[in-house]
């Protein structure tokens, strides 16, 4: 299942933390024209590099769909960064 939401929280020093919630599907829909062009460029590039474009695209999609559950937390004395894919 593809990721639904990417949440990012960044806090630097004493400032208020910035939080973003990125809904993946709506963003994909909005960016779909660009993604289509990108996909065509990718297919041509892959064919040029003699990589099976079909398998590569399926692999990339699989990679994207597997990202659900990824979490990254970094805390140091000044900065807190939290990225979560659900």
């Amino acid at each position: 299942m593809m990721p639904q939401l990417v949440s990012v929280r960044v806090q630097s020093g004493q400032r208020r933390s910035l939080r973003f919630w990125i809904p993946v599907l709506p963003v994909l829909v909005v960016l779909s024209p660009l993604l289509l062009v990108g996909l065509l460029v990718l297919l041509v590039g892959l064919a040029g590099a003699r990589v099976n474009p079909g398998r590569a695209v399926v692999g990339l999609w699989d990679l994207f769909c597997s990202a659900s559950g990824l979490r990254l937390d970094i805390h140091d004395h000044e900065n807190n960064i939290h990225i979560s894919v659900t």
Partner: protein, 138 residues
């Protein structure tokens, strides 16, 4: 597989096979299931690879906590299997130059799958005076 398991249990109940034989047959069934879903993480097995770093070497504490789904690792290595031979040979040259004798061209997707499988049993603990690193599957 549920139907076959039921048949084995019925045969055991009817006394047609012994408990040992039933156990062996069920084990074989589970083995078949394992092969069929080799590309997917086992449901009962760990799902994530965790990397925890606690570093105080600069006098200030820094903590890193990464949780990577094992499915993502599998998808990544499967994608890496598409890298063309020429690119692998170039990477080999660079790796050899840095003193690590690994031949990437000999790594097959099945080997990489096995490698990811074995990550599920991996636990790495590094304890230094100011740095602690833990890598484990959960």
């Amino acid at each position: 597989m549920g139907e076959q398991r039921r048949q084995i249990l019925e045969m055991l109940a009817e006394g047609k096979i012994s408990a040992d034989e039933a156990e062996r047959l069920i084990g074989a069934l589970e083995g078949e299931g394992g092969v069929a879903t080799a590309s997917e993480p086992r449901k009962s097995g760990p799902k994530y690879l965790r990397v925890l770093v606690d570093d105080q070497s600069n006098g200030e504490p820094t903590q890193v906590n990464v949780r990577v789904p094992i499915r993502l690792l599998r998808a990544g290595v499967r994608l890496a299997g598409l890298i063309p031979q020429q690119a692998l040979e170039k990477a080999n040259d660079e790796i050899r130059r840095s003193g690590v004798p690994i031949d990437l061209t000999r790594l097959k997707p099945e080997d990489i799958d096995e490698l990811v499988d074995s990550l599920e049993e991996l636990t790495v603990d590094v304890n230094e005076a100011n740095t602690k690193v833990r890598v484990f599957a959960e």
